[in-house]
Symmetry: C2
Subunit: 280 residues, 2 copies
Amino acid sequence: MRVISSPEVMNSVSRKLIRSGKSIGLVPTMGALHYGHLSLIKKARKENDIVIVSVFINPKQFSKGEDYERYPKDIINDRLKAAKFGCDILFHPGNDSIYKKDFATHVKVEGLSEAMCGTSRPHHFKGVATICLKLFNIIMPGRAYFGQKDYQQTVIIKRMVKDLNVNTDIKALPTVRESSGLAMSSRNSYLSCQERELAGFIYKSLKDAQRLIKSGERRSAKIISDISKALRSHHINIDYISIVDPATLKNLKHTKGKVLIALAVRIGKTRLIDNILVSS
Amino acid sequence: MRVISSPEVMNSVSRKLIRSGKSIGLVPTMGALHYGHLSLIKKARKENDIVIVSVFINPKQFSKGEDYERYPKDIINDRLKAAKFGCDILFHPGNDSIYKKDFATHVKVEGLSEAMCGTSRPHHFKGVATICLKLFNIIMPGRAYFGQKDYQQTVIIKRMVKDLNVNTDIKALPTVRESSGLAMSSRNSYLSCQERELAGFIYKSLKDAQRLIKSGERRSAKIISDISKALRSHHINIDYISIVDPATLKNLKHTKGKVLIALAVRIGKTRLIDNILVSS
């Protein structure tokens, strides 16, 4: 596995690969790779000639007071894991090579970026869209792989790609979970043993909501209230719980057809997100 | 010369050209082609295997009350002119194929977009940057050609390309002028005979300012005031006159080194822009 840190070198390597007829699959990550990432790498391995994993903790998607400074870093293990799962090139650029001194441009997907996580993280998805577009332009992948855990992110990136005619197919893959049901996330490493146990209730509350819908409940307010009560009973603080149209992310008063239940919670200082798609 | 209206067809034709090793030069226009455009096409012809001219009047770069509805359209002559000057493919998409119903994404270059023309046209450069990025993604040109008449536009597009790692070189070519000095512009067709005569004073005032600087004047306020007086004496209404750093577009109190004098004026209902680079 080759490791490249310069965007210019990465771009020139990608150009040569494309010119020689190779297909490129990109797995964009912020590092601290876990089995969620690894499932994306494995899928990319199956569908492309060349698999590139990017590791870049993007400062522009964090607001002040968030966990940018303490975000988990583990590049040595990332290299081992990426190589083991079939990555050909690890792209690991520095901050200064990605954001030059006079950097001034952003990409924003209006509407979708303000819902759900956008409420408490108003600049987050602008930062995500911008870095993804930069990575797509540097690496020029035919396909890029994202996890459904970040559902809103995948919807926004898909829309950006469609709206801006970007030449990359966006693939969203199922969330990988620990045995407790907790969605794999680099941020899980923040959790103490006790907190990690509590975090298992997040997915449990979503599965309970799914059962409630399957049993005939249609009122979003009632479903949200039940999730909320369950989580609070475990001293889990709620950032938001939303039941939305999976395509538009618009809140639904009543569930109908396929709906997304998405939430963000805080356990101690750690903010965690999860979601479930339910056919009602 | 081939005419293509579908972005999907255009993209697939471009991909094939690139795969077969051809270089593509793009001249993005809003049609009503004049000698300014034709100089861009000629330059693109010299530097690329394939020359593509896009004709698209981009609604997103017009604000309400501007001249979107009456912007000159002359596709029959555009086709003749483009073919005559060596264009291989004319890309002439419809509005609905460029902006799908749920379109929601924009690209913005902060800072540079608010100066000069950005003051009276606050959404203009967001619209320009977005459509240019879309065209670059659809057509994937190695080079794209713009006229220096739209100086601020070229600075913004160059910055966007740098910031977002777009794989297109931006070429800015000198303004082409009528014998009176009036910068070629599709909007000149709005002018009556008398107005067109007045419009000749725009460039004259810029040349006078250049002479004033060459003679030792350094105070921007004095230079601007002289241009302003000259134009007002011909009943030309001033939108703005700016003396700025050519790279940052920041206002300069005193001229030093290379400076840009840029202005926008109104003659009757017609808004015209022009600029001159001066070494002081």
